[in-house]
C-alpha cells in the first residue's frame, strides 16, 4: 500500500520526520518497506541563476552562472525561460536524471561533464521532465523565490511516499485514513476524519431503483444510491494527482471518485450506468453454471454456481467485488449513476477471483473481510466526492439491503487479568484507556469498580478484532515492547519423551566427520534425469515396498520436479562436481529423507525414510610427502562403514551383492552379524558406466548407503546398553601366519576360521600380496593372530596346538597352506 505523506497529512498532523514516522509504523506492525522520496534525486539542489549570457558558438544556447551554495558553476542551457535571479533545480555531475528524449518510460541517464559547442558545461539546469515530476520539457523548472539555495531538491518539491507492506489482518490500512488512525495513536495527534456530508435533491432513491439480495450468505449487506445528471469528464487535478501518486491511472471523474474512496477508506465501490440497468433493478445472486459475463476489460468470464453475480432482470451486470460488467460501464454519455457499496463474503470472493485469475485492488480488500458498517460510511463519502467532481443530484436516501444484520460480533470483553495473563505485566488503567481511545475504540467498564476491565465495541473499520488477545496486541503494539521485562520460563520442565531422532543420527554423522568426510545437504526434489543417472535400489524381492516416485504439482523449476527416492544420484552429483574444482580428497556424505508412495492405505502421507549415502573419489590424501597418494577405493568406503558400526555398537558383516549401480563383483550388502541378518546398507565401487554419467574428472568412485531407520531400530531394540567388559588379566601371545592361497580365496573366510578357534582373541590381515615369488594364480596372505585366555596364561604349547588346528582347517577347508 502506497501512502503519500501529503495525502496522509489531510487526516493527521505529522510533526516528526518521515524516517521516524516509518520506524514507528513498522514497530507497530505496519512495516514500511521503503520510503520513496518521489522526487528526490541525488546531486540535484536548489540553485540561483546569477547571470545569463550568450553562447559564443550557438544562437539558441546560453551560458548560465549558477550558485548552488558551494560555488558558482557555468552551465550551458538551451531553455528559453531561463532568467537572472531565478531559483532553479541545479544538477551537478553524477546526478541521475530522466532522459527527456527517450521513448522508453522511466529511462535515466547519469549526468557527465561535457562540452557543448566548445564550451564546457559543469552540470545542468533541469526541466520537470528530467526530474521525473512531470511531462514539461519546454523550459526549465522555476522554483518559488523563497527556496533556500543548496537544499536537496526533494526537500523543496518532494513528497515522500511510504510503501507499507501490510499484513493480511489489517485491511483497514488499505485506506489512507486507516494508516492515519495508527499514526495519530502512535504520535499523540488527533485524527481528522473526512467529511461525509452531501446535499440531496429530487425523488427518493427508493422511487428510482430497487435492490434484491437473493444470496445473503455471500452478500451480507448491499447499499445503493442514485446520482442523476452527472457530467462525466476528466477528474480535477487534485484527484488525478492523488491517484497518480499511488500509481493508479485516472479514468474519469466518477470512476476516479470510487477509486479515491477505496484508497481513502478501504471500501471498494462500483458505479453502474443507471440507465443501462434494466428496470433499475439490481439483483445479487449466484451465477448459473456456465453463465457468461463480459467484464469491463472486454473479456468473457465463464462462471460457476459459486460465483456471486450482480445482475438486472436481463442478466449479469457485474462480478461482485471483482469487476464491473462492460454493459453497464460508465461512459462519456452516462448521465445517471447507480452507486454500489456492498459487503461480500471474503472466502467466496477470494475463491472466485482466484478461479478466474482476477485478483484486483477490490478483491485485495474484500478477501480480508470487511465489516458491514464500512459500506455506509464509504458510500456517503463517495457521494460527497462525486458531487464535488462530477456535479449531479444525489437522490435522498440509501437503498440498504442487510440480510446479515445482527450476525457480526459487536464487542470484546477485555479484563485486566487477561492482559496480565498474556503479557506477564499489567498496564495502568489510564494507559489502557488512553491507548484504546487513541485507536478510536469505544469502551465501557465491565463493572462499577472500573478496575476489572472493559467491554470494547468493535469499530466498523476493524474486522480483525474478535478475542481479548487481539486487543492485548493493540495495546502492546502502540505502547511498544521495549519496556516489556524479559523473564525465564517458570514452572515444571516437561518430562523427557524418548524417541528423539537426531541424537542417533548425530552419532553416525560424527563418526563420518571424524573419518574425514564432509556433510552435504542437497535439494529434496530433483530432476527425473538426475535420478535416472543412478537409479534407486530395486525393492527387495517379495517386499511390499513401493518404489513409485512422487512428483510435485507445481515445481519451482525443471531441476526440481520429483521427490528423491534415494540419495545416490544427488550425492554422486555433488561429489562429481567437486572433482572438477577441488584437488584434495572428495569424501562426502548426506543424511536425509527419501520419499516413496506409501502402500499403507490408512496413511495418506508417503513413506519418508531417513537414508545416508557417502561417496569417496579422487586421491585419498592431499598430495604431501610421506603420505599415501593412491585413490579412494572400495576399502575406504568399507572402512567408513566399519568406523560407523564401531561408533554405534553394531556388528555387521558384508555379503556379496549384485546391484546395477555398483561394479560387478565389487559390491557388498551390509547386514547385521546376528541370526536375523537385518539388511542395513550397501557398499561398493560405483559402476564405471554410471560414474561416467556424472562427468567427474576422477576415474572411479566408491559409495556406501546406510538405512538410518533400520539402524535406529536395531540400536533402539537393544535391551541392554553395550556394557563394559573387563579386559583379560592374562597375557596374550601374538603369532603371525604366512599363508599362500589360490587367488580366488576370500580372506574373510580365512579370518573367520582363525577367529572360530576358542583361544583366538582376534585375527587381522596385515599383508596381502600377489606377484613375484608367490606363483601364478596364488596370493600370499599375512595374518596376525592374537591368542589369549580369560582364565590362565597360555603356554607356548597350547598356542602352538591352537595354531596347528587353525592351519589344518585352513588347508582342509580352503586349500590354504603355510608359505615355506
Amino acid at each position: 500500500m502506497k501512502v503519500p505523506l501529503s495525502w496522509l497529512r489531510e487526516y493527521v498532523d505529522v510533526n516528526i520526520d518521515v524516517e521516524e514516522l516509518a520506524h514507528r509504523l513498522t514497530m507497530a506492525g505496519n512495516e514500511v518497506d521503503s520510503i520513496e522520496k518521489f522526487r528526490h534525486i541525488d546531486n540535484v539542489v536548489v540553485g540561483k541563476v546569477l547571470q545569463v549570457s550568450p553562447h559564443p558558438n550557438a544562437d539558441r544556447l546560453r551560458l548560465v552562472q549558477v550558485d548552488d551554495g558551494e560555488g558558482t558553476h557555468e552551465v550551458v542551457c538551451g531553455a528559453p525561460n531561463v532568467a537572472k535571479d531565478q531559483m532553479i533545480a541545479y544538477a551537478s555531475v553524477g546526478a541521475v536524471l530522466f532522459d527527456p528524449y527517450s521513448d522508453e518510460d522511466g529511462k535515466t541517464t547519469k549526468l557527465r561533464r561535457t562540452k557543448i559547442r566548445g564550451v564546457e558545461s559543469s552540470g545542468m539546469v533541469c526541466s520537470e521532465k528530467e526530474l521525473g515530476i512531470g511531462d514539461d520539457h519546454d523550459g526549465i523548472l522555476v522554483l518559488p523565490a523563497s527556496s533556500p539555495i543548496g537544499t536537496p531538491i526533494g526537500d523543496v518539491i518532494g513528497d515522500a511516499v511510504l510503501d507499507i507492506e501490510l499484513t493480511p489482518n489489517r485491511p483497514d490500512c488499505l485506506g489512507v485514513v486507516g494508516v492515519a488512525r495508527d499514526v495519530a495513536a502512535l504520535t499523540g495527534e488527533t485524527l481528522r476524519f473526512p467529511s461525509l456530508d452531501y446535499k440531496t435533491y429530487g425523488p427518493n432513491v427508493d422511487d428510482l431503483a430497487k435492490v434484491t439480495v437473493a444470496d445473503g450468505d455471500l452478500s451480507p449487506r448491499y447499499l445503493g444510491a442514485v446520482i442523476r445528471n452527472v457530467k462525466i469528464g476528466p477528474s480535477p487535478e487534485w484527484l488525478q494527482e492523488r491517484l497518480l501518486a499511488i500509481g493508479e491511472r485516472p479514468i474519469n471523474n466518477v470512476v476516479d471518485a470510487t477509486n479515491f474512496v477505496m484508497f481513502e477508506l478501504g471500501q471498494p465501490l462500483h458505479a453502474f450506468d443507471y440507465d443501462k440497468v434494466k428496470d433499475h433493478h439490481v439483483i445479487v445472486r449466484r451465477a448459473t453454471e456456465g453463465e457468461v459475463l463480459t467484464t469491463l476489460d472486454g473479456v468473457d468470464r465463464k462462471l460457476d454456481t459459486e460465483s456471486l453475480l450482480i445482475t438486472d432482470p436481463n442478466g449479469g451486470i457485474g462480478l461482485a467485488g471483482i469487476m464491473g460488467g462492460e454493459n453497464t460501464e460508465i461512459s462519456e454519455t452516462t448521465t445517471n449513476i447507480f452507486l454500489e457499496s456492498a459487503n461480500f463474503n471474503p472466502q467466496n470472493n477470494r475463491r472466485t477471483a482466484g478461479m478466474l485469475g482476477m485478483r484486483s485492488e477490490a478483491t485485495l480488500r474484500f478477501e480480508k473481510g470487511l465489516r458491514a458498517g464500512l459500506t455506509e460510511v464509504a458510500i456517503k463519502r463517495c457521494l460527497r466526492i462525486i458531487l464535488a467532481v462530477a456535479d449531479g443530484e444525489v437522490a435522498p436516501g440509501l437503498i440498504d439491503e442487510w440480510p446479515g444484520e445482527g450476525t457480526e460480533q459487536e464487542h470484546v470483553d477485555l479484563t485486566r487479568n487477561h492482559i496480565h495473563r498474556v503479557m506477564g505485566v499489567n498496564y495502568p488503567v489510564d494507559q489502557v484507556e488512553a491507548t484504546l481511545s487513541a485507536l478510536g475504540f469505544e469502551f465501557a467498564p465491565l463493572d462499577s469498580t472500573k478496575n476489572n476491565g472493559w467491554r470494547v465495541a468493535i469499530p466498523y473499520w476493524r474486522s480483525d478484532i474478535a478475542i481479548p488477545e487481539d486487543l492485548v496486541e493493540e495495546l502492546a503494539r502502540i505502547i511498544g515492547y521495549d519496556d516489556l521485562p524479559a523473564t525465564p520460563v517458570a514452572g515444571q520442565v516437561p518430562r523427557w519423551e524418548p524417541g528423539a531422532k537426531h541424537s542417533f543420527r548425530n552419532r553416525v554423522i560424527d563418526a563420518l566427520t571424524a573419518f574425514g568426510m564432509r556433510q552435504t545437504i542437497t535439494y529434496a526434489a530433483i530432476a527425473d534425469e538426475l535420478e535416472a543417472k543412478a537409479p534407486p535400489p530395486a525393492p527387495r524381492p517379495g517386499s511390499s515396498d513401493s518404489t513409485a516416485s512422487l512428483k510435485l504439482e507445481n515445481a519451482v523449476s525443471g531441476q526440481h520436479t520429483t521427490l528423491r527416492r534415494s540419495l545416490r544420484a544427488p550425492t554422486l552429483e555433488s561429489a562429481a562436481r567437486n572433482t572438477r574444482t577441488w584437488r584434495a580428497p572428495v569424501a562426502l556424505f548426506e543424511t536425509g529423507l527419501v520419499f516413496q508412495s506409501n502402500p499403507d492405505p490408512n496413511d495418506p502421507l508417503p513413506s519418508q525414510n531417513e537414508q545416508l549415502t557417502g561417496v569417496l573419489t579422487g586421491p585419498r590424501n592431499d598430495a604431501a610427502w610421506g603420505r599415501d597418494s593412491n585413490n579412494f577405493d572400495f576399502y575406504d568406503a568399507k572402512g567408513a562403514i566399519e568406523h560407523v558400526m564401531e561408533a554405534i555398537g553394531i556388528e555387521a558383516k558384508f555379503i556379496p551383492l549384485e546391484d546395477p549401480s555398483y561394479a560387478q563383483g565389487k559390491a557388498a550388502e551390509i547386514v547385521t552379524n546376528d541370526r536375523k541378518g537385518t539388511p542395513i546398507g550397501t557398499v561398493g565401487v560405483v559402476d564405471p558406466a554410471i560414474w561416467e554419467r556424472f562427468d567427474a574428472v576422477t576415474e572411479n568412485a566408491a559409495m556406501f548407503e546406510l538405512d538410518i531407520e533400520a539402524l535406529r531400530g536395531i540400536v533402539d531394540d537393544k535391551t541392554r546398553a553395550d556394557s563394559y567388559s573387563p579386559y583379560p588379566r592374562y597375557p596374550d601371545s601374538q603369532r603371525d601366519l604366512a599363508l599362500v592361497a589360490d587367488i580366488g580365496i576370500q580372506v574373510g573366510d580365512a579370518i573367520r576360521i582363525c577367529e572360530q578357534n576358542r583361544l583366538v582373541k582376534s585375527a587381522s590381515v596385515f599383508d596381502v600380496y600377489e606377484g613375484g615369488g608367490v606363483g601364478d594364480g596364488k596370493k600370499s596372505i599375512g595374518i596376525r593372530v592374537i591368542y589369549q585366555s580369560d582364565n590362565r596364561t597360555l603356554t607356548s604349547d597350547q598356542v602352538s596346538r591352537a595354531e596347528d588346528q587353525i592351519v589344518r582347517r585352513l588347508e582342509h577347508e580352503l586349500g590354504v597352506t603355510l608359505r615355506s
Binding site: R518, I521, H560, A587, P606
Partner: protein, 334 residues
C-alpha cells in the same frame, strides 16, 4: 620326540631373542642375523634336518621352525629399526627439518546448516526444550488449517506452497514451515510442553541471493499455565546472548502470523543495526482449542527461525544459494 623338538625350538627362540637383545650396533646385528637366520645359520640347519625325523614328527617340527623363522625375522627387523633410530639421534640437529609439514589425517566436517542448527538447538535444549522431528511431506491440515490458516484465507499468500497432491482427500504438500510440529506435538502430549523442532521447509519462490525455495527452520513451542510474552522475551533474549554474544539485545515489533496473537518479529542488534531473525508470539487460543487444550487454563509461546539466515549473519555469507550448492570450496570453510 615331537615334544622334544618343540621344547628345543622354544629354547632356541629364547636364546636367539636374548642374544638379539644384547646386540647394540649394526655390525653386531649383522653377526646375529648370520648366526640365526643366515643360510648356514641355526634355523636353516635345523630345517634341513627335519627330513631325518620320523615321518609322524616332521610336519609338526617343520611348522614350528617356520613359525620361529617368521617371528625371529620380525624381531630382527624391529631391532634394526630401533638401532638405526638411536644412532640417528647423534646426527647434528641442523640436519633435521622441522618445517616439513606434519602427517595429518583428513579433516571432515559438518554442513554449516547442521552446525548452526546444533548450536541453536543446544541453547534451547539447555533451557528444557526437547528436540522433536516430523514429516517433510505434510498434510494441509497440519501445515495450515490447524494453525488457524483455513482454506481461502489471505494469509496463505504469505507462504506459497509446493503441492504434492492437491486433489486427494487429504491434501498433501511440502511443509512451508516447521509449525505443523506444534500441532503434532500437542496432539500427542499434554502440557507442560517445551519443544524445538528443526527441519527442511519449502516454498514456491523464485531463488535469489536471499531467497531459496528450500531452507531449514527451527520451531519452538512452550505451553503451560502462566506462560507469558515476557517469558518469550526472556527466552529469546537468552538465545540471542548465547548465539550472538553476551552484549546483544533483542527487539520485538508487532507482526502478524495467524497462529499467534499477539505476534511479533524479533530483531537482534548486529553491528549497530537491527536485523530480523525470527517470528514469534503467543499461541493463538484457536490453535490451543484445536488440539484439545483448555485455552482458559493454558497459554503458550511459539517462535520460528531460519538457521541459514542466522548463519549468513554470523559468518557473513552473502548468498543463501551457497548452502545447497555443496561446493567444497564453501563447505571446507566450516
Amino acid at each position: 620326540m615331537a615334544e622334544n623338538a618343540t621344547a628345543s625350538t622354544q629354547e632356541l627362540e629364547r636364546a636367539a631373542l636374548d642374544s638379539l637383545a644384547a646386540a647394540k650396533s649394526e655390525s653386531q646385528l649383522e653377526e646375529w642375523r648370520v648366526a640365526y637366520l643366515g643360510r648356514r645359520g641355526e634355523l636353516s640347519t635345523r630345517l634341513r634336518s627335519v627330513g631325518s625325523l620320523p615321518p609322524e614328527d616332521r610336519r609338526e617340527a617343520g611348522a614350528s621352525l617356520n613359525r620361529l623363522k617368521i617371528s625371529l625375522t620380525a624381531a630382527f627387523d624391529q631391532a634394526v629399526s630401533d638401532t638405526s633410530k638411536s644412532e640417528r639421534q647423534t646426527v647434528p640437529s641442523d640436519a633435521f627439518d622441522i618445517t616439513l609439514p606434519g602427517r595429518r589425517g583428513n579433516l571432515g566436517g559438518l554442513h554449516p546448516s547442521e552446525m548452526m542448527m546444533r548450536e541453536i538447538l543446544g541453547v534451547f535444549n539447555d533451557m528444557g526444550f526437547q528436540t522433536v522431528e516430523g514429516p517433510i511431506v505434510e498434510l494441509e491440515i497440519y501445515n495450515f488449517d490447524m494453525l488457524n490458516i483455513p482454506a481461502d484465507h489471505p494469509a496463505r499468500d504469505l507462504q506459497d506452497t509446493l503441492w504434492v497432491d492437491r486433489s486427494s482427500k487429504d491434501k498433501i504438500l511440502l511443509r512451508t514451515q516447521t509449525s505443523p510440529m506444534q500441532i503434532r506435538t500437542m496432539e500427542k502430549q499434554k502440557p507442560p510442553v517445551r519443544i524445538v523442532s528443526p527441519g527442511l521447509c519449502f516454498r514456491h519462490e523464485a531463488t535469489d541471493a536471499t531467497h531459496e525455495w528450500q531452507f531449514h527452520q527451527i520451531e519452538g513451542l512452550a505451553v503451560d499455565e502462566g506462560i507469558t510474552m515476557s517469558d518469550l522475551k526472556g527466552t529469546l533474549y537468552e538465545f540471542a546472548r548465547r548465539i550472538f554474544g553476551t552484549q546483544r539485545k533483542i527487539r520485538f515489533r508487532c507482526d502478524y502470523f495467524p497462529f499467534v496473537e499477539p505476534g511479533v518479529d524479533v530483531s537482534v542488534d548486529w553491528n549497530g543495526r537491527w536485523v530480523e531473525i525470527m517470528g514469534a508470539g503467543m499461541v493463538h487460543p484457536k490453535v490451543l482449542e484445536g488440539v484439545g487444550y483448555d485455552s482458559s487454563k493454558y497459554t503458550g509461546f511459539a517462535f520460528g527461525m531460519g538457521p541459514e539466515r542466522i548463519a549468513m549473519l554470523k559468518y557473513d555469507i552473502e548468498d543463501i544459494r551457497h548452502f545447497f550448492s555443496n561446493d567444497l570450496r564453501f563447505l571446507s570453510q566450516f
